[in-house]
C-alpha cells in the first residue's frame, strides 16, 4: 500500500506546463514528465552526458542505446522535437545506414518515421526524398508500416497511381503484417472507385513502376545524380543481372569499403550509383536550402504565374548608396568619451559626461578651463600646483616672463 502511494505522481507540478506538453501517439509517461519538470537543466544535461558515455562505451552495437536515448529525449523534451533530438537521430541514422542487422527492425523504422515526420513535416518533397532514399537502401522493405506511410504521403501528393503501385511492391516484398497492406490497398481502390480515378496499370513490373515514379519527379537531389543516368544504368544492370534479389545483395556488398576491388567485375556506372547511395544521406542542415520554396498541393482556382524575379532590386542593391563600404574611419586615433560612473546604493548609477581623469589627476583638481588653458600653452598646472600664496612676488615675475614669450609667438 505504501509503495503504491509512492508511485502516485502529484499533478500540481504538471499543471503549469500542461498546455506546453506535446502529446505523443503512444502517450507520455507522467512519471518522466514529473521528473523532468522537477529537475533543472543541469540534471537533464547530466542524463544526456550519461547516454553519450554509454554510446561511447558500447561501440559494437549502439542501436539499443540509441533507441533508449531517443525515447528518453522524446519523453523529456516535452515541448516538441528540438535540435538535440535532431542531432541524435541524425547520428543514429548515419551510424545505422550500412547496418544489415537492423534493416528491418521496427524500432529502426520508427526512428526514421520520427525523423521524417518531426523535422520535415512542412516539406512533402523532402519527405518523399527520404522515403525514396530508404527504398533505395532497402531499409524496412519488408515492413508494412513503411509502405503504408510512404503511400499515404504519395496519396497526399495525389500521385494515386504511384501510391497504388507502391503498395503492390509491398505485397510483392511480402511485407509484414500482410493483412494491413491488403486492407490499405482495398481502401484506396475503394476511394478510386468512388472518385472515378482510373489507374492504368500498364506495366506489371514493379521495378518499372517505381522507375516511372522516380522519373516523374525529375532530378532527385539525394542522389546528387541525374536520374535519367541512373535509370539508364539500371536498365543495363537489369539486362546484365540474372536474378533480382541475388544481384541486389551483391550490390549491397559493393557498398562496403572493398567495393573498389569489385569494380572491374561490375559496370562502372552502376557501381557509382550505389556508392552515391551509401554516402547519400544528408542531414537536415545540409538539406536546408535558403531559397527553397515549400511545395504544397495546388488548390482549385489558383492562378499560376511566372515567379517574380527580383533582379532589379538586386542590381540596385549592388550599385546603390546603401552598399557603400566605409574604408576610412575618422575615429582612428581618437579615444571614446571618458565617463565617470558613480554608483550610489539603492539608486541607479550615474554616468557623468566629464573626463574625471583630466580634472582629478593624482589627487589634484583642475577645472576644465585650466585644462583648456594648459592645452593652449598659457597655463602650467604643475607650477601652479606648488604655488604658495606667500611667494606671490617671485611667481609673478616668472609669469610675466612667460607672458612675454607668449606674446612674441
Amino acid at each position: 500500500m505504501e509503495s503504491d502511494l509512492d508511485d502516485i505522481v502529484s499533478f500540481t507540478h504538471l499543471e503549469n506546463e500542461k498546455e506546453n506538453i506535446i502529446p505523443l501517439r503512444h502517450g507520455r509517461s507522467v512519471k518522466v514528465l514529473h521528473e523532468v519538470l522537477l529537475s533543472g537543466t543541469e540534471q537533464l544535461d547530466l542524463k544526456i552526458n550519461w547516454f553519450e558515455k554509454r554510446l561511447e562505451a558500447d561501440r559494437n552495437d549502439q542501436f539499443d542505446t540509441y533507441v533508449e536515448y531517443i525515447d528518453w529525449l522524446q519523453e523529456s523534451q516535452f515541448k516538441g522535437p528540438n535540435n538535440i533530438l535532431l542531432v541524435v537521430i541524425e547520428r543514429c541514422l548515419t551510424y545505422m545506414k550500412n547496418n544489415e542487422q537492423y534493416r528491418n527492425d521496427t524500432r529502426y523504422l520508427k526512428i526514421w518515421l520520427l525523423y521524417i515526420n518531426s523535422f520535415f513535416q512542412y516539406s512533402m518533397r523532402d519527405r518523399r526524398d527520404m522515403f525514396i532514399y530508404m527504398f533505395r537502401n532497402r531499409i524496412a522493405d519488408s515492413l508494412t508500416l513503411y509502405f503504408i506511410e510512404f503511400s499515404r504521403l504519395l496519396f497526399d501528393m495525389r500521385n494515386y497511381k504511384e501510391c497504388h503501385d507502391f503498395l503492390l511492391i509491398g505485397i510483392k516484398n511480402h511485407a509484414l503484417p500482410a493483412g494491413q497492406l491488403l486492407n490499405k490497398i482495398n481502401e484506396i481502390e475503394e476511394f478510386f472507385q468512388l472518385n472515378n480515378i482510373s489507374i492504368e496499370s500498364s506495366d506489371n513490373n514493379d521495378q518499372a513502376s517505381i522507375d516511372n515514379l522516380l522519373l516523374k519527379y525529375g532530378n532527385i537531389s539525394i542522389l546528387n545524380k541525374d536520374l535519367k543516368e541512373i535509370l539508364a544504368s539500371k536498365k543495363i544492370y537489369n539486362n546484365n543481372g540474372s536474378s533480382n534479389d541475388k544481384t541486389k545483395l551483391d550490390v549491397r556488398e559493393d557498398n562496403n569499403d572493398d567495393a573498389y576491388d569489385n569494380r572491374e567485375d561490375c559496370d562502372s556506372t552502376k557501381l557509382e550509383i550505389f556508392k552515391d547511395d551509401s554516402t547519400g544521406f544528408e542531414t537536415k542542415a545540409s538539406r536546408l536550402k535558403e531559397n527553397q520554396s515549400i511545395v504544397t498541393p495546388l488548390h482549385s482556382n489558383t492562378i499560376i504565374e511566372p515567379m517574380k524575379q527580383e533582379t532589379k532590386y538586386g542590381l540596385s542593391n549592388v550599385a546603390g548608396p546603401s552598399a557603400k563600404v566605409s574604408i576610412f574611419n575618422d575615429n582612428i586615433g581618437r579615444t571614446k568619451p571618458v565617463y565617470k560612473i558613480i554608483s550610489i546604493d539603492g539608486q541607479k548609477s550615474e554616468r557623468i559626461d566629464c573626463n574625471f581623469n583630466l580634472i582629478y589627476p593624482e589627487d589634484n583638481e583642475f577645472s576644465v578651463d585650466q585644462l583648456l588653458a594648459e592645452m593652449r600653452g598659457c597655463y602650467n598646472k604643475s607650477n601652479k600646483r606648488k604655488l604658495n600664496p606667500s611667494i606671490d612676488m617671485t611667481d609673478g615675475k616668472i609669469n610675466k616672463r612667460k607672458l612675454i614669450v607668449q606674446t612674441n609667438e
Binding site: 579615444t335 548609477s349 557623468i352 559626461d353 566629464c354 585644462l371 593652449r376 597655463y379 601652479k384 607668449q406
Partner: protein, 364 residues
C-alpha cells in the same frame, strides 16, 4: 520685443514645461561669433541690447542686437585667452580678464582699452561691486593664483588682496554678497560691507568639483552648480539654510540605448552656468548636455525645460530686464582634446524670454 520675430503661436493652447524646437525658432543666432570657444557673456546694465563676449581666441567683442540682427560694435585683444567679462554699472566700461593674467578695461565711448593691473595667475572671474561703508564701485577679480583683488579703476594697484583657500573657479555677487567658488569645493562668502575678510568659509555640499556659483537677487544666498549634474540652493544664514536649503539633480538623461542586461544609468552632464533672472528671481541653468532649463527655487520646481542643442553650453546670461537670455554653444573641454572636433559648433544664441518660461507660477 520688437526686434525678435513674432513668437510662434502655441497651437495646443496649453502650457507645457517641456519646450520644443519651435520655442527656440525665434532665437537670434550668431554663428561663429569668435574664432574659438566662448568663455563669458555679459550684458550692459544700461542697454538691453548691448553685450560683450569674451573668447578663448584672446579677444573681447561687443555686440549690438538693437536692429534685430547681431552687429559687432568693437573688439579689443588680450595677450591670451580671455576668461571673463563684465560691464561697469554705468555701462561706460567693459572689464575683462584672462590667461595673460591681466585685467583690461575698455571704454565703450572712445573704444580705447587699457590694462588695469595683473594677477600672478589667470584671471578667471570678475565683478563690479559696490563695497565698503562708502558703497563705492570697485572691481573685484578672482584668479587661479588663489587670490581675489579689489581695484579702484583709477589706480594701477589693487586696493586690497584677499587670499582664497584655493584657485578661484567662479565668483558672483548681488548687493552686499560676494561668493567665491574655488578648487577643492571651497566656498568663501564675503560681506562687501567688510570686503577685506572672508565672512564665512565653507565647503560645497556637492560631492564633486564646483563649476559655478550664482547669487540670489536678494543677496541672501547662492546656487552652486557642479560637474556631477547637481545644483545646491544655499543660504548664508544658517537658520534659513536649514529651512530652505536643498540640492537637486539636473542636466541628466536616462540612456535610451543601453545594452541589454546592463544596469540602467543616467547620463549626467556638468552644470556649466547659472544665471538669475534680474526681475523675477528665477534662474536658468545650462550644462554639458546642451540643454538649458529655467527653475523656480522658492517653489522648488522646473519652469521650463528646453531640448538639447547637441553642443555644450559654457555660459548663459540674462540682460538687465531679463527679456533676453543669451547662451553660447561651444566646446568647453570637459572631455579633453578627444572631445574637440573641427566641426563642433561655436554659436551664440539670444532667446527672447516669455513670462510663462521665466516667471514664477502662482500656486493654483
Amino acid at each position: 520685443m520688437s526686434f525678435f520675430p513674432a513668437p510662434a503661436t502655441n497651437t495646443s493652447g496649453t502650457f507645457s514645461t517641456m519646450a520644443n524646437q519651435q520655442d527656440l525658432a525665434n532665437d537670434i543666432v550668431i554663428n561663429n561669433p569668435a574664432e574659438d570657444s566662448i568663455s563669458d557673456i555679459a550684458f550692459s546694465p544700461q542697454n538691453d541690447f548691448l553685450f560683450s563676449v569674451s573668447s578663448w581666441d584672446g579677444k573681447v567683442r561687443i555686440w549690438d542686437v538693437q536692429s534685430g540682427s547681431a552687429q559687432g560694435r568693437s573688439q579689443y585683444e588680450h595677450g591670451g585667452p580671455v576668461l571673463t567679462t563684465r560691464w561697469s554699472n554705468d555701462g561706460s566700461t567693459v572689464a575683462s580678464g584672462g590667461c595673460d593674467n591681466t585685467i583690461k578695461l575698455f571704454d565703450v565711448a572712445t573704444s580705447q582699452s587699457r590694462q588695469l593691473g595683473t594677477h600672478s595667475g589667470a584671471v578667471k572671474s570678475l565683478r563690479f561691486v559696490n563695497c565698503g561703508p562708502s558703497n563705492a564701485e570697485c572691481l573685484v577679480t578672482g584668479s587661479w593664483d588663489k587670490t581675489i583683488k579689489y581695484w579702484d579703476l583709477r589706480q594701477p594697484n589693487p586696493i586690497s588682496t584677499l587670499t582664497m583657500p584655493d584657485r578661484v573657479y567662479t565668483m558672483d555677487n548681488k548687493s552686499q554678497l560676494l561668493v567665491v567658488g574655488t578648487a577643492e569645493r571651497h566656498i568663501a562668502i564675503i560681506n562687501l560691507n567688510n570686503p577685506g575678510t572672508i565672512f564665512k568659509a565653507t565647503q560645497s555640499p556637492l560631492k564633486w568639483q564646483t563649476r559655478v556659483v550664482a547669487c540670489y537677487n536678494e543677496g541672501n544666498g547662492y546656487a552652486i552648480g557642479s560637474v556631477e549634474g547637481r545644483c545646491a540652493i544655499r543660504y548664508v544664514d544658517d537658520e534659513m539654510q536649514k529651512k530652505s536649503g536643498f540640492s537637486f539633480k539636473c542636466h541628466r538623461q536616462s540612456n535610451p540605448n543601453r545594452a541589454a542586461g546592463t544596469q540602467n544609468q543616467s547620463m549626467v552632464y556638468p552644470v556649466n552656468s547659472i544665471a538669475f533672472h534680474p526681475i523675477y528671481g528665477t534662474f536658468g541653468t545650462a550644462g554639458g548636455d546642451g540643454c538649458f532649463h529655467f527653475w523656480d527655487k522658492d517653489h522648488r520646481h522646473r519652469l521650463k525645460a528646453f531640448p538639447t542643442l547637441q553642443a555644450s553650453i559654457p555660459v548663459i546670461n540674462f540682460n538687465r530686464t531679463g527679456s533676453i537670455f543669451a547662451y553660447a554653444l561651444s566646446y568647453d573641454w570637459h572631455q579633453g582634446y578627444t572631445g574637440n572636433t573641427p566641426n563642433y559648433p561655436n554659436v551664440i544664441r539670444l532667446h527672447p524670454t516669455r513670462d510663462d518660461e521665466v516667471k514664477e507660477k502662482r500656486k493654483k
